[in-house]
């Protein structure tokens, strides 16, 4: 049994001032805890309190406690449900696209290639950009007359961002373009951690490439792929900036955009806080499902 003992270096300045280990630990930990309480926990509890009132940030009227009315109203609103289903479809399309493109790229890059470092860095450029900047320039790319996409495809002036059937996919393609490198990066880390001797053993056993992929590569990379999918699902569910900047099309309205409109355009602070909590619970549930799969994958 090993015991970790942390002691101060007797010559250090802290020791000469007579600070104990506990004091030093508190000096580092307390400011962080205070910061988290002020900027994370307090707003969370404050908005939770709002969600049970009829408070409007634009009005000085008295605030009344309304119980679960805001939650019931939000859940009974068909527009919210339509927005939820749009968001869910967006998450599925976007995360699947990012997974396919990102993992595919990682498989291509996981071999001795000339200028591998340079290519990896270049491929990571999209995710280094600000989402609002990306949204704005993809809006220009999709522009029916001046945009390069229609010109490159030779498809004529198709207004993808104002078409109710295409707008959501146009936003999803932008998100895939921006965030596939993130999945690629995590997958690449997972792929490079697969022990080489397993491939050598498979090669000696004359295992085919597909068999090696499904029996060695995929099971060993699965946990890290799941982590990438968890991160991207949570982020895609909360997508606001790209979608808000690119399209005002109601058919492509995501839940975060609806929340913004409720909170800062219609000034329904109470109901919007309730909606924010419903979104939080949904994201927590989805993440929990993934984490259970992740634990199962790790056990295997």
């Amino acid at each position: 049994m090993t015991t970790l003992i942390t002691t101060l270096d007797p010559k250090s300045r802290a020791a000469s001032r007579g600070w104990s280990d506990t004091t030093i630990r508190n000096v580092f930990v307390i400011p962080t805890v205070l910061f988290l309480i002020i900027f994370n926990v307090f707003p969370l509890l404050y908005s939770l309190a709002f969600s049970f009132t009829d408070f409007r940030a634009s009005s000085k009227a008295a605030v009344n406690f309304v119980g679960f009315k805001n939650y019931i109203d939000v859940l009974a609103d068909p527009v919210i449900w339509r927005t939820f289903s749009t968001t869910l479809w967006y998450v599925i399309v976007s995360v699947t696209g990012q997974f396919v493109v990102g993992f595919g790229l990682a498989l291509l890059l996981n071999r001795p290639l000339p200028f591998k470092g340079l290519l990896t860095t270049l491929l990571m450029l999209p995710m280094m950009l600000s989402p609002v900047v990306v949204g704005l320039f993809w809006k220009l790319i999709y522009d029916p007359s001046r945009g390069i996409l229609n010109h490159a495809l030779g498809s004529g002036p198709v207004a993808r961002l104002s078409d109710s059937n295409l707008a959501l996919y146009a936003v999803a393609i932008t998100d895939i373009w921006m965030w596939s490198p993130f999945v690629m990066l995590l997958s690449l880390a997972g792929l490079s951690a697969v022990p080489k001797h397993l491939y050598e053993a498979a090669s000696i056993d004359r295992a085919g490439k597909l068999y090696t992929f499904f029996r060695i590569t995929l099971p060993l990379v699965a946990p890290i792929l799941l982590i990438a999918v968890i991160f991207r699902t949570m982020e895609a569910f909360k997508t606001f900036d790209i979608a808000f900047v690119m399209t005002g099309q109601p058919a492509a309205e995501l839940i975060s955009s609806r929340l913004y409109k409720m909170a800062f355009q219609q000034w329904q602070t109470g109901p919007s806080s309730a909606l924010a909590y419903i979104i939080l619970i949904m994201v927590l549930c989805i993440t929990n499902i993934y984490v259970k799969y992740l634990n199962k994958a790790k056990e295997r």
Binding site: L105, L108, L109, R111, P112, L113, P114, L119, L122, L123, L125, P126, L129, F137, W138, L140, I141, S145, R146, G147, I148, H151, W177, P181, S203, I204, D205, R206
Partner: protein, 71 residues
């Protein structure tokens, strides 16, 4: 007796052609992977190229219909 599963390097004149074709296939696979990576990188970078080049174009070229790819 596990040595029966080991892949042997064929002697010259005995299956050497098959071995050579294996090597060629591997090389071809690697070349196609390099080509695919380069093509995907170019596709990924094309929006950034277009938007950056637009930033340096005069207004007439930046707003022209059809859009100009190069200067």
């Amino acid at each position: 007796m596990h040595h029966q599963y080991l892949r042997q390097v064929p002697e010259q004149g005995k299956g050497a052609l098959r071995w050579l074709s294996f090597q060629r296939a591997g090389r071809l696979g690697n070349r196609s992977a390099i080509a695919a990576v380069i093509v995907v990188t170019l596709i990924f970078l094309s929006p950034i190229y277009w938007i950056t080049s637009t930033a340096f174009k005069p207004l007439v070229l930046a707003t022209s219909v059809p859009p100009t790819v190069a200067f």
